[in-house]
């Protein structure tokens, strides 16, 4: 019996993976544990190892294919063995691999020859199962994402007549944005025509870049966060004089030790880690309508990579000395920019820091990185006039903005946390 190689599920949120490269080819001898192919999840590149010894008998998903998790993508067996038909996957999601991938056709005794031809459907196994349970014809479902893969959420969302679904699919209309006028709000053809009439006025569909890859992930996560978590925003100003002094005192010493320059961001991480330890209400995750107060303080650091925002996580940040903070953070940022992060380095965050100071931004309201309940936005340090003992003096001021999930914590707790951060930054001796 041939052994399947499945598209691995590498994390809770992973639904599919892209085949990047087949390292092994059909006929190659493989030892269990050897890397057979490389895949890309929605977060990182991964190697997939052979589950057994043998010969690579069959590859069912070509490079570039997007495949649902837990779907067979190749078979390993003895030399000369053939893979039985039923062992082949129910679905592989890519039209470019049509020759090797067997696609599921939704049935109906009729296959039209004209443009009303039945479409081949690509769907995740979960979507297929749900469709079968609910008696939904996948042919009538418009995929919600650009890769054409039908997912469970697409099934839930469907409230349109078959005709309206066909038109929407054909014209690339997002049904979730259309208000239905039919029975129980069902979307009818008429609804689409009035809706698409509005769209066609600018008639430049080709100029729209479809969401894909990291951009798509960011879009989904930010929408989810904004829709689900009631954001509240607070901010305050921090006198950075003490931080500046501290930095110049340790700068040289640390640079010699680590080869890295200590930045205000490093100091901020160190301070925030301590403040989180002191304010566990903020060091939490909102999960399944409950609050998970985290034992560890794992700080995500927002990094602007070429493809978009990526947030590697500095685990147990409160346990790290400043030296380690500098080294580990810099390593994570470097990996993030080179696309070398492993999944572990992207998961488990309990709080995020986003710093836009280098762009000259003084203040902003970041969106929460779900399921975290707090995110700190740090601005540029500006020499500002400050009234001190009745005199106007100039001081380096940084504005810190905290967005928090008001389901999980209230303004008082958030304020306590943020003023604790300020306190520590203005009197770093308290870190001891």
């Amino acid at each position: 019996m041939a052994v399947e190689i499945l598209m691995p599920k590498m994390g809770m949120t992973m639904e599919e993976g892209t085949i990047l490269k087949w390292v092994k080819q059909i006929g190659d001898e493989i030892v269990k544990g050897e890397v057979v192919l490389e895949i890309q999840t929605d977060k990182v590149k991964m190697d997939v190892e052979a589950p057994a010894d043998g010969v690579l008998l069959k590859i069912v998903a070509a490079e570039g294919s997007v495949v649902p998790v837990n779907t067979p993508i190749a078979y390993i067996g003895e030399a000369g063995e053939t893979v039985a038909e039923e062992e082949q996957p129910a679905s592989v999601a890519d039209s470019s691999s049509a020759e090797t991938a067997e696609e599921v056709k939704t049935h109906g005794p009729v296959k039209a020859t004209s443009s009303v031809d039945s479409e081949k459907c690509k769907a995740t196994p979960a979507a297929k199962r749900m469709a079968a349970e609910k008696g939904i014809d996948l042919q009538n479902i418009t995929p919600g994402s650009t890769d054409g893969m039908i997912r469970v959420k697409d099934l839930d969302a469907v409230k349109a007549t078959p005709l309206a679904q066909k038109i929407a699919h054909d014209q690339g209309i997002d049904l979730s944005a259309v208000k239905g006028s039919g029975v129980h709000g069902k979307i009818t053809k008429e609804d689409l025509l009035s809706d698409s009439a509005i769209r066609s006025s600018d008639d430049e569909q080709s100029s729209v870049t479809p969401l894909a890859g990291l951009r798509k992930v960011i879009a989904e996560r930010m929408s989810l966060s904004w829709h689900e978590a009631p954001h509240a925003f607070i901010s305050l100003e921090v006198d950075m004089t003490a931080m500046a002094n501290l930095r110049s005192e340790i700068l040289k010493d640390l640079e010699e030790k680590t080869g890295n320059k200590v930045s205000y961001n490093h100091l901020l991480i160190k301070v925030v880690a301590r403040a989180l330890r002191d304010n566990p209400a903020v060091n939490a995750r909102f999960i399944d309508n409950g609050i998970d107060f985290s034992e560890d303080v794992n700080i995500g650091v927002a990094v602007a990579a070429e493809e978009g925002l990526i947030v590697p996580v500095l685990h147990k940040a409160d346990k790290l000395n400043i030296e380690e903070v500098v080294l580990n953070t810099n390593e994570l940022i470097e990996k993030a920019r080179n696309g070398e992060l492993v999944l572990k380095e992207l998961e488990g965050g309990t709080f995020t820091i986003s710093n836009l100071g280098m762009f000259g931004i003084t203040m902003f309201g970041p969106i929460l990185n779900p399921p975290e309940v707090g995110i700190l936005g740090a601005g540029k340090i500006i020499d500002s006039p400050v009234v001190e003992n009745g005199n106007i003096v100039v001081k380096p001021i940084m504005t810190l903005s905290l967005s928090f999930d008001h389901r999980a914590l209230d303004g008082a707790q958030a304020s306590l946390f943020l003023s604790r951060v300020r306190d520590l930054m203005e009197s770093p001796a308290k870190l001891l």
Binding site: V110, A112, S114, S115, V116, K166, T188
Partner: protein, 461 residues
């Protein structure tokens, strides 16, 4: 206020509206001057179909030998036919009254004279005038037969569809003025009952809004039965002669005379506006009360439904509109959708359709596809003993929308419901073709026509 909702007129639109309103928790009154059930139950849909059924049975018995059944001496007993019809009407109207009572709707058996949008004057059982006040008013007064202004229309031998239902003495020759649905159905009935029927239609075409191909099929079949149908025939006068009457008309620029024992006036029906003058409602060119898609008139809180709106004069349209009006009067939101109204002709062959004709579809959609499936391809039609007719399906080529569905043949009127549902739910030809139809049934012709439309015909080349 005496009532939340008062419905004026107890026809199929009015009584349905009353029941829907009562089901929605409203205190409801129904005012009907004549019989509950209105034209549909008493003088229209139901009684005519009862006569048609008798005609069919007569036809079947006469042709019993085709089925291997010996039956001789079959003849029509017109009095019994009428009695059967009366019994059915009685059962139905009593049934409706029972429904109204069960829903605690107060029935006033009186003419209703509307004084203003909130007040309707009726007479109680003792003849005393009574002002009923209501929050919302639904006008469902229906229609009356149009009597054209022709010399001689008041002769005793000139009757309408109402009187003909009780005819027990059928003359040899009958002239029907008007070739619409009513005229055609009576042409079929009276021909089947043994009369020589001539239909005189003013317009150049019979059923101008129906699918031409099927109308021609119908007319051919009528002519085969011996029914004469003349178009562009304008009746000028009706005169008494011995025996019967002379119907004088222009046809092909010639003045002609037709001898007839009975003249049936079936030129159309017009809105019945009796008792509504005080409201001064806005009306359209066909005298109908203008309503919006919520069935509300120019007066807020006053709704009008069915024939009195001068729109499509069909019982099922009145029913649908009655429900919409009642829901809006209840404060719910409902809109009448006229996209998928089925039309039926209950002759033999039966004809039924929904949606656009081929010509209309071409104009509106540009690229369309047409599929046909004849009843000769249906096993059940053979068993049934009637393979006349066909299904014609018209789809929009791009998305497969079922733009029009036209049936002529056995049970066409029963089967059109599937097409109406398909259109209502916006099923495309793909769904219809993929729908499992029971075998053997006549309904399979719809699925077969869908296959044909997709160039995937199975039981037909």
């Amino acid at each position: 206020m005496d009532y939340d909702i008062l419905v004026l007129g107890g026809g199929i639109g009015g009584y349905v509206a009353a029941i829907r309103a009562a089901k929605g928790g409203a205190k409801v009154a129904l005012v009907e001057k004549n019989h509950i059930g209105g034209t549909c139950l008493n003088y229209g849909c139901i009684p005519t179909k009862s006569l048609i059924r008798s005609a069919e049975v007569l036809d079947t018995v006469k042709n019993a030998s085709d089925f291997g059944v010996k039956a001789t001496g079959a003849e029509l007993d017109l009095e019994s036919v009428i009695k059967r019809k009366d019994n059915i009407v009685k059962m139905l109207t009593e049934g409706v009254e029972g429904l109204l009572n069960a829903n605690q709707i107060t029935i006033y058996n009186s003419m209703g004279n509307v004084k203003d949008a909130r007040t309707v004057e009726v007479k109680d059982s003792s003849g005393k005038s009574l002002d009923l006040t209501t929050n919302k008013l639904i006008i469902a007064t229906g229609s009356v037969t149009t009597i054209p202004n022709i010399p001689g229309v008041d002769l005793p031998g000139v009757i309408t569809s109402k009187e003909v239902l009780n005819i027990t003495d059928l003359p040899e020759e009958v002239c029907i003025v008007g070739g619409g649905v009513i005229g055609l159905e009576f042409a079929y009935i009276l021909n089947a009952f043994g009369a020589k029927v001539t239909v005189l239609e003013l317009l150049p075409e019979i059923l101008p809004k129906a699918e031409r191909e099927l109308v021609n099929y119908l007319l051919d079949s009528f002519r085969e039965k011996g029914i004469s149908i003349l178009t562009k025939a304008q009746v000028n006068a009706i005169e008494e002669s011995e025996p019967g009457m002379n119907v004088m008309f222009y046809h092909n620029d010639e003045e002609k005379t037709l001898q007839s024992g009975l003249v049936l006036m079936a030129v159309g029906r017009e809105p019945n506006l009796a008792g509504l003058d005080a409201l001064n409602l806005k009306r359209n060119s066909s005298k109908g009360i203008i309503v919006n898609s919520s069935m509300e008139t120019s007066l807020p809180g006053v709704y009008a439904i069915g024939d009195v709106t001068g729109g499509v004069q069909l019982a099922h349209v009145a029913t649908a509109q009655g429900i919409v009006a009642a829901e809006n009067a209840l404060g719910e939101e409902a809109k009448f959708n006229s996209n998928s109204i089925p039309y039926c002709i209950y002759s033999k062959p039966e004809m039924a359709w929904v949606g656009l004709t081929e010509e209309e579809a071409k104009e509106k959609y540009g690229r369309i596809k047409v599929g046909r499936f004849p009843f000769t391809g249906s096993g059940k039609a053979m068993v049934y003993g009637d393979t006349s007719g066909l299904v014609k399906m018209i789809i929009d080529e791009k998305y497969g929308e079922i733009v029009g569905l036209h049936l002529i043949g056995p049970e066409a009127t029963n089967m059109i419901a599937e097409g109406v549902l398909a259109r209502m739910l916006e099923a495309t030809v793909i769904e219809l073709a993929a729908t499992i139809h029971p075998h053997p049934t006549l309904s399979e012709v719809l699925m077969e026509a869908a296959h044909m439309t997709l160039d995937q015909g199975i039981h037909y080349i």
